[in-house]
């Protein structure tokens, strides 16, 4: 494989970190200048990331070493197709989220906006770091920075509820960090290397009992952020955060970083071959299935819109992990592409929830009767994304579910096909009442019956993401070449494994 040495990955990470400090220095007084830093950094980051896509598609990898601690122990960026996919998702959605955030915080006249934008930029910086990291150590470093950078966002409201959610979040993620630190140290001790390798690198370095233990620890560590049950508890609580944060947390950065970590562990540390030999892939798939079903049912019971979306997130993330755990070519394709598709659809849903919150201060599903007449654009986008998540063509969710189902068949595990089907039914069950109520029910008294949308800063991003999820459903390879990147990643993994 060709390796290109370039400092572009570093700049992609640094640009938002620099912006974060510029934001801090600019402060509350010059809001427009401060926001312009965010936008500029987001655009710059996106362009840097995008400029590397063609290189990756040629089958090359881009590498940059920051520091070497020891032979085999270094902070290093290496961009492969899988990392690139995540990088593109995160950096493209940041632009939209930035605009949306500006509309949101100004619409609500939030406090501590500087801290908010600072933490936001730090989050993105570490997310890109995670996407581009070449080894487990680099991954862990950025993963922990992400943990800390998200904390100010979770407690943003500074209410009692927010602080409790923040404590819960820290308790879960920091414990996970410790478990990871131990597991990674043990892997380094056993193998002397931590570099991700398509198809795994750990095979044969220890007894199967030790390997299974390490696998469990790594999945526990990354599974916390991915909301894998029973470690999902922090995620619905973290819904007290402002909506753009939830959007970013639950669609792009934090939970996707967890999923990305799980997939890295499954596909690039252990590898399909080893997991088959150890026989833990099936257990993993069952855990994921359990999460899918239970989260679906729990979502049904939520009246708070954002909490319902949170459980839907847990459900979808588990689906991605299921795809990887089934270890077939189609299921992997489905899982990896679902990372992208879910990101666009889920961020749309959260954007809609935020728009409702800002415009009409409604947070509960039961309050949404007839709201579609007042905010047709918002609820239209909501409908598109919800339909997409349920897996109905021509939205992008269909593509990923199709591949996942194919994968379940390829793995000769019909049961997972049923799991996916059940999940789709549950999706329909908890999304469609919202769509129906908002468009067809008689409006509640306090709903303005004529067109009265949220600020355009908020509406335009959510319309864009909704449209994109249709486009990706029809042409999966459009714009960002997600499909090509996915198949390239799968090819790499299967080619070796």
């Amino acid at each position: 494989m060709d390796v290109i040495y370039s400092s572009r990955p570093l700049w992609a990470v640094l640009v938002s970190m620099i912006a974060a400090f510029l934001i801090l220095a600019t402060g509350e007084k010059n809001r427009n200048i401060r926001e312009s830093w965010t936008i500029m950094a987001a655009l710059a980051k996106f362009l840097i990331v995008l400029s590397m896509v063609p290189v990756i598609l040629q089958g090359k990898v881009i590498e940059y070493t920051i520091v070497t601690f020891y032979p085999g122990l270094l902070l290093q960026f290496r961009i492969d197709a899988f990392g690139m996919l995540f990088g593109v998702i995160a950096s493209s959605l940041w632009i939209l989220t930035s605009f949306y955030s500006i509309g949101y915080v100004r619409g609500l006249n939030e406090h501590a906006q500087t801290r908010y934008f600072f933490a936001f930029a730090m989050c993105l910086s570490s997310t890109i770091g995670i996407a581009f990291s070449a080894n487990l150590l680099t991954f862990l470093v950025f993963y922990e920075i992400l943990t800390i950078a998200t904390y100010p966002l979770v407690i943003h409201s500074e209410s009692k509820e927010g602080i409790m959610a923040g404590r819960k979040y820290l308790a879960y993620t920091l414990t996970a960090g410790c478990v990871l630190l131990f597991a990674i140290a043990a892997i380094y001790y056993m193998t002397g290397t931590l570099d991700f390798k398509a198809g795994g690198f750990i095979a044969g370095s220890g007894s199967s009992a030790v390997l299974i233990m390490l696998f469990a620890m790594l999945i526990m560590g990354f599974g916390v952020k991915a909301g894998l049950m029973p470690m999902h508890e922090w995620l619905p609580s973290a819904m007290v955060a402002p909506t753009p944060v939830s959007a970013l947390l639950h669609a792009v950065a934090v939970v996707k970083a967890g999923v990305f970590g799980c997939l890295r562990v499954i596909l690039y540390v252990f590898g399909p071959g080893l997991l088959h030999d150890l026989g833990i892939w099936l257990i993993m798939a069952y855990i994921a299935s359990f999460t899918i079903i239970v989260a679906g049912f729990l979502a049904l019971g939520q009246d708070h819109l954002k909490r319902r979306l949170a459980f839907s997130t847990i459900n979808n993330l588990a689906m991605i992990i299921l795809g990887a755990a089934l270890l077939t070519k189609s299921s992997m394709t489905g899982g990896i592409i679902h990372m992208a598709n879910h990101a666009f659809m889920k961020i749309t849903l959260f954007f809609c929830a935020g728009a409702l919150h800002v415009k009409v201060h409604k947070d509960y599903v039961s309050q949404l009767d007839g709201i579609g007449r007042q905010m047709p654009l918002t609820m239209g986008a909501f409908a598109i994304a919800a339909i997409g998540l349920s897996g109905i063509p021509p939205m992008s969710g269909f593509i990923s579910k199709w591949f996942l189902c194919l994968g379940a068949l390829e793995a000769n595990q019909i049961i997972f096909l049923f799991v996916l089907m059940t999940s789709a039914m549950l999706d329909v069950a908890f999304f469609f009442p919202i769509i129906y109520n908002s468009f067809f029910k008689k409006p509640l008294d306090d709903v303005t019956p004529h067109f009265d949308e949220a600020p355009m800063f908020m509406v335009i991003p959510l319309v864009i993401t909704a449209l994109l999820s249709i486009v990706f459903g029809i042409v999966p390879d459009a714009f960002f070449r997600f499909f090509s990147l996915t198949s390239l990643a799968v090819q790499n993994i299967m080619g070796v494994g």
């Binding site: 020891y70 922990e144 407690i155 820290l170 630190l181």
Partner: protein, 499 residues
Amino acid sequence: MAEQFAALIIVVPLISSLLVPVIGWGQKKLCYPWVVAVLVVPLICSLGILNTVLTTGKFSYRLGGWAPPWGIEYAIDHLNAFVLVIVSFISLMVAIHSKKSVEKELSEKTVPFYTLFLLLVTGLLGIVITGDAFNLFVFLEIASLSCYALIAIGEEGAPIAAFNYIIIGTIGACFYLLGVGYLYIATGSLNMADLANILPDLYHSKVILVAFAFFTVGIAIKGGLFPLHTWLPDAYCTAPSAVSSLIAPLMTKVAAYVMIRLMFTVFQPHFSVEIVPVFAILGWLSVFAIFWGGIKALAQTDIKRMLVYVLVAEVGYIVIGVSVANRVGLTGAILHIMNDAVMMTCLFLVVGAILYKTGTREIHQFRHLNKKMPFTMAAFTITALSMCGIPPACGFFSKWYLIQGTIEAGQWVWAAALLCSSLINAVLFFRVIECAYLKPMEPAYAHNAGETHGEILRDEAPFTMLVPIVIMAAGVIFLGIFSGKIISSVIQFAVPASF
């Protein structure tokens, strides 16, 4: 030139400390600039020494020109050159920071304070630089005596804490001296290098065993290792803030250095590992130290007292690194000597600044400190994150090596203790951060703090305090990022070659 550095590093602060009263007699205000100026000299000397060691390898300086087995020798290798830099750098930073807090807390006693301050630094530097077992005792006592006196001039309760420290510290020093005596009986030498040559033939002698036991207990007392730490919390907590920010990070670290020096240089590692099961005991004691320190710290509402208990746990870290007795663990221990010294200094300096500005150390009264003292609190937050082991701050990397060490030694419980301790630290420090950065959880705090409801004005610590704090906080990050460089250029040579 480096030869002269080795002498100057002791002589300059020693003589200058005697000149402090002379200067203070004339003009009290001149003491502070004098002390700061004097402390630059050890820093330059230690950097020069480190440079020489790195380029030409280890060397020795004969005091008064007497040849080693009889005369006192300053033997300098990578390990003590490294620790010398830490000690001299931190003492300079604390000295710079001390100006305002000494004026406020010890306005009557400025002159004795600075005299003793320099003596303490002399003692610490001497412990590190000397290559003679008895000379080490003398410097240990110089440092301890100035410590006792400095602690005794602290707040309410300080004299009694200092008295306890005197009693227990003397026992520790006497045990060390007895150890030296028994070694002398067996070998007839006091020079460390000489001892290292003679001792291997005598490893099965009971006298050596007794000496080793006395050394271990003596140093454990001085370093505050659980369960011999009982004097430590009161003594360090009641001391004036300028004093505790010097002795809390350094005294324990220097004791850890002496432990490494004795166990791996004077005695061969295989003696300390195979013939005496001391490391199994020390390791388990450290596990208790970590948990006990962490739990006691959780119970405190006074931030300085909390830090002191965290310090007890941190001593446990270093001793675990020593106890695993392998190369990577020891690397972690030596790295943690540096990292912990920097982190602890930063935290104590921050506490000193907060105490100076707000007059309180109670955590729940820290409200709005992020607005009042943004830079101080930012430094605190960075260091706190480092204590929790968040990369890329330095705490993460020492933890990484320590855990590698425990894995290599197969001590899973020790590894678990290290990991649990980061979680305990997270609870401890996020509690403070919540209090300082966020609105109060209970509205009850709102009126009893008696604060204005208007804009909270910035009221940052004075410049002399802020500069060292910011430097230390930056150090926390930089030492983390460059820890690989530090290990490959210094620490890997400092670890005994027999590993």
